[in-house]
Every structure is written in C-alpha cells, then in structure tokens.
Symmetry: C2
Subunit: 183 residues, 2 copies
C-alpha cells in the first residue's frame, strides 16, 4: 500500500534498555543491492508549549546528558506505560516546573527523526496556568532556571544559539503558527 | 566546567553500524543512584532550505524507511568523511533534486534530539538556484515528487500533517525567521 522502494527480508534486536530498542533490519535497496538499516525504537513523547495570558512561553534551562551542556528548551518527556499524551504532558509540566494548566490542546503529532527513530512527539499547548507546587527534587537538579519569554525574546535566543534543539524549535514554530492563526 | 548533575563512571559500545554507534554509559544520577544512559552517536548532518527568487522553498516527497511512508520534507543527509557542511549540502541537494545553488549561507547549527543523539544538524540556506542535472537514480527511487512552495502553502501542509518531521519543521522555522528579518 505504501509502495515502499525498500524490501525488508529480516530483523533482529541488537540492543535494548528501558528507554530504547535498537533493531537491525536486513533490507534490499531500491537498486536491488542487499544491506542493513538500523532503527532506534523509543517510546512516544510529548513537548509542552505553556503560555501565560500575555502569550509568553515557559522555557526551562535544562541539562542535556548527551551534549553535556545546559540549554533552554520546552518541558518535555516520554510517555510512561499506557499514559496518553495529555496525561504525560500534565505530569512532565508539573514535575519539571510545578506549573499546572487547566486547558490543553494538541497542536500536532510530529516525528522526531525520520531517518533513524520511530518516536512520535505530540506538541501540546497548555493555557490557564497556575503555579501549584515545586518541581520534583530530581528534576530540580536537572533544571537550574525557568522563565516566561515573549516570542521576540525567543527569536533572539534562537539567533544567539541559546535555543538550538530541533524538538523545541519545532514546538515553538507550531506555537507561533497557532498564535498567528488563532490570536 | 559544565556543572554536570550526572557523573559518568564507565562506557561501552553496545552496537555499531556504518551510520550509528550506540553506547551505554554507567552513570550516577543527581540523586546519587547508579544507572545507565544509552546514547546514539551518528554523523553530523545537513538540511537545505533552497529558495527561488520568489522565496518559495524546495520540498521533496521522500520515502521514510523507518515510518514506511512518503512525506514532504527538505533535502537532507549526513556528512561523509571529512566533508564540511556546505560541501555536504551541495552534494545532497544535487543528488536528491538535481538543483545547484550559487549562494550558500548557514542559518544555524542545531541538535537533532538532545535526550538521545549526539548528532548536530546544520541548516543551510541555498539561493541563486539552477536546475543542472537529473537526480541520482538511487535518490529518484526514494523521492517521487518535488515542488517549490510559498510559506503560506508550507503552513497549510503543516496544518494538514503533510509536513510533520522535526528536522524539516526546525529548518522551515529558521528559514521563516531569516526571511522575516532579512526580507
């Protein structure tokens, strides 16, 4: 049905941990040559654009283990068990920032890295915010600052490289498109 | 220097193919508990926003092996050997679309997925375009259509889900910011 130009002739799991499964497929390329394709399977995830009454978006200064650096991004995280995207978003926002939101709206379901990963990432808009609690102790160690930023401030942070990660960039773009269309 | 809240106590390679290396680090979490962190190392990559004299951007309808579906995205690919970002971009654009560009400008260096991958992705703006050659036979099998789209057409494709991949979304956001600032 999808008219795949590849054929898959086999598959095996080559690595697994609680968060990712790496599989290696045996494939036939479009030109007929045999080869392999490595695929990283991970749980679907969410990212949250939480905006206040002035359309300022909540950013966190978060530590990336992979990059070994601090950077500004949107609250995000993986789904857990059977949790749906809204439940996951509510939990991640509360754990990372202590903020609760009364209103939730799904802006889009995106794919994170289509050359390598199966992960889908839902982009959620959160409004009617309330600071209800303190972030979890674990998340506090990984998040050293948070702030609400206007879109023009976000643009300056992109320009300077302070915001440089594709999941956060994608969610900010979808937020900006939503605000342009819906005020 | 980075004030890492994690400690790394060991590392081992758990899977490798010509495109990715998966390593598993032994770590100490911020709360003092031991654990592991899986990291996917892949070559750095490029994505190309090629625009014509009317600021229409070149999209390709590309097959994703991982998602097993066709979708619209920007031309992109991994660096090869010691090739720099501009050389890689010129090669990928030509192979995938047959288009050459006289002028190249780096819009940003982004990170693809900072919870899991080391990959950096350069976002290149290509202008002064010329259709010089036909795409490579291999790429032709994986790309079934291409077109130039105005930004409002891009917005409609995002709204409909035809464009849904974070690397392409990020590059389009950076293109749109560039055009808003520089005409």
């Amino acid at each position: 049905m999808n008219n795949s130009p590849y054929k898959t002739s086999g598959t095996k799991t080559v690595y697994q941990n609680p968060w990712i499964t790496v599989r290696e497929d045996a494939i036939i390329h479009p030109d007929g040559k045999p080869g392999i394709y490595g695929v990283v399977e991970s749980k679907d995830s969410v990212i949250v654009a939480a905006i206040d009454e002035n359309n300022r978006v909540l950013l966190i200064n978060n530590f990336s283990y992979v990059a070994q650096k601090w950077h500004w991004e949107l609250p995000a995280g993986g789904t857990d068990g059977d949790d749906d995207f809204v439940t996951t978003s509510q939990r991640e926002l509360a754990e990372e920032t202590g903020v609760h939101a009364k209103t939730w709206h799904t802006l889009a379901i995106t794919r994170v890295c289509d050359g390598l990963m199966t992960e889908k990432m839902a982009v959620l808009l959160a409004t009617d915010l309330q600071q209800d609690e303190t972030p979890s102790a674990y998340d506090s160690a990984l998040i050293r600052d948070m702030k609400f930023a206007r879109l023009d401030e976000v643009h300056a942070m992109i320009q300077s490289g302070e915001i440089d990660e594709c999941q956060t960039l994608s969610a900010l773009y979808l937020l900006e498109r939503h605000l342009a269309t819906n005020g």
